[in-house]
Amino acid sequence: MSAWLNLRNVFVVALVVMLALVPVYAALIGNYFLMSLFTRIVILAMAAVSLNLIMGFGGMVSFGHAAYLGIGGYAIGILAKEGINSGFLQWPLALAMSALFALAVGALSLRTRGVYFIMITLAFAQMVYYIAIGLDRYGGDDGMTIYKRSQFGDLINLSNKTAFYYLCLALLLLTVYVVWRIVNSRFGMVIQGARSNDRRMRAIGFPTYRYKLVCFVIAGTICGLAGALLVNHTDFISPAVMHWTRSGDLIVMAVLGGMGTVFGPVIGAVALLVLEEVLSGVTEYWQIIMGPIFLLVVLFARGGIDGVLLGASRD
């Protein structure tokens, strides 16, 4: 019996297959809202996976990660408003801006530890949020509509919802693979070691600050890409995308799904957003159980859903 064939891996494969079949199913039953929902799920899952690179593996809890969704989104939105619709110009800029912001914020925030680091990342994200509100030309508090999605010529038409969904899914799976390779590389070992015992890492000769900073930038850049996808999905960008509660959502997805694995946050994103869809149909006060559930997960099921699956697979 292959070591790969266990409950958890079967679950993961099944989930991926299900995600791949969403457009097919949606076309069959004629419900395109489902595809829209899952496009959003896939994009946010990508953001959550990028967050988990620094949070679960690096021990750096960023409460400002949603800022990159906004930076990526606004980069594209601003260019679109100024008449530049080519994705070949917009997307690299979105990534570059995200990377620069991550570099600046990381360089300052990583001088602190623990909760202070967390609050500082939150503070910087709030700063960007307020800046966006102040951008009158680009919608300010109300946000702005994007009339034309990123153009990639004959390569792909993002207005084709099915094509767009598969692009997002492909990028999600690529992200998962790349993050998995990073986590297990030499670089990943340093990041994990620094999370586990930073003092020891420095004692054996690692200048941990610079590695953590690079990791922070990588995570921010990936999330900026998610932001580019998100703005194309919603055809709209507003400061609300960057509010600290959105960063909190990403954290919940990662913790709920499983901070200890690369794929965990994907599970968390699916679980959280599907639950949100289902429960908000039942009562508008469903969110009140989220808090205590989250607390219980933190106290008793620290490894999240993926952790529970892995534990069950070992027995």
Binding site: R181, I182, N184, S185, R186, F187, G188, M189, V190, Q192, G193, S196, N197, R199, R200, M201, R202, A203, I204, G205, F206, P207, T208, Y211, V214
Partner: protein
């Protein structure tokens, strides 16, 4: 060569007039210490003598208020910890400080990796890299942990933790080891094993050993320095220290003389 001509060699570690206060407490009082290459130098002293503070300053976690520390000719007084490690000064911790969710081999491989160039490699799996695993296995074998390489650190016994501490320090290919009470909390069998390990290491490394275990100290040390209330009250060959009245009174006298 005439015995009484003292050949002055450049000390590998040169601690010059190092002082450190915490508020009203003088933890290090004008400490001067020279450790030539190849020597095993032991530091002993009652609790509160400032041994941990001294190691902290040597390792780079604490900044001395005054004085200078030189290692291999370099002034390291202001160097951060990781740079000192890169220069070849390795330390072990008095209170075990390892990576609990990693395996024994992973722990040591990390130490090897720290001295195997930069770590901005993002693609190849580090656990498959023989360049890291092989030296790690060697370090583990030297401390007698070869069979435990696949075990999670959180599952090890206390004695094995202490052995792993040494292996981590060794894996960084150091010129000098700063060992902070490596035998802390060990029973007689484990201590004897550790003494043998250290005796082997003595042959190729310079060692600064902080210890309470007097049997081990007198079995291993080439020279001993005695620290009391942050000051060095005596420094010299083991027999001289054993016979020193002031030392006996301050420290050794409290316990039965070790086969005097």
């Amino acid at each position: 060569m005439c015995c009484w001509v003292q050949v002055v060699t450049e000390a590998l570690l040169h601690v010059e007039h190092v002082s450190k206060r915490f508020g009203g407490i003088v933890a290090s009082d004008d400490i001067t210490l020279l450790v030539p290459a190849g020597e095993l130098h032991a530091i002993i002293g009652p609790n509160g003598a400032g041994k941990s503070t001294l190691i902290g300053q040597l390792a780079g976690e604490l900044a001395p208020d005054a004085g200078r520390i030189a290692f291999g000719g370099h002034d390291i007084t202001a160097l951060p910890t990781y740079r000192r490690s890169q220069l070849g000064l390795a330390r072990s911790f008095q209170i075990t400080s390892l990576f609990p969710d990693f395996t024994v081999l992973d722990n040591v491989a990390l130490a090897v990796q720290a001295h195997a160039g930069h770590s901005f490699h993002f693609w190849q799996a580090a656990r498959n890299e023989d360049a890291l695993r092989a030296p790690a296995h060697v370090a583990l074998a030297r401390v007698g942990l070869a069979e435990r390489s696949g075990v999670l650190v959180s599952r090890l016994s206390h004695g094995e933790h202490r052995q792993l501490e040494i292996a981590m320090a060794l894996a960084t290919s150091p010129r000098m080891l700063l060992l902070d009470e490596p035998m802390a909390g060990m029973g007689p069998d484990e201590s004897a094993r550790m003494v043998n390990i250290l005796r082997e290491l003595k042959r190729e490394l310079t060692i600064l050993l902080i210890e309470h275990d007097m049997e081990a100290v007198f079995a291993l040390a080439d020279r001993i320095t005695v620290l009391v209330y942050g000051r060095t009250i005596a420094s010299g060959a083991p027999e001289a220290i054993r016979a020193n009245a002031e030392v006996r009174q301050a420290y050794l006298g409290e316990q039965e003389a070790v086969d005097g």
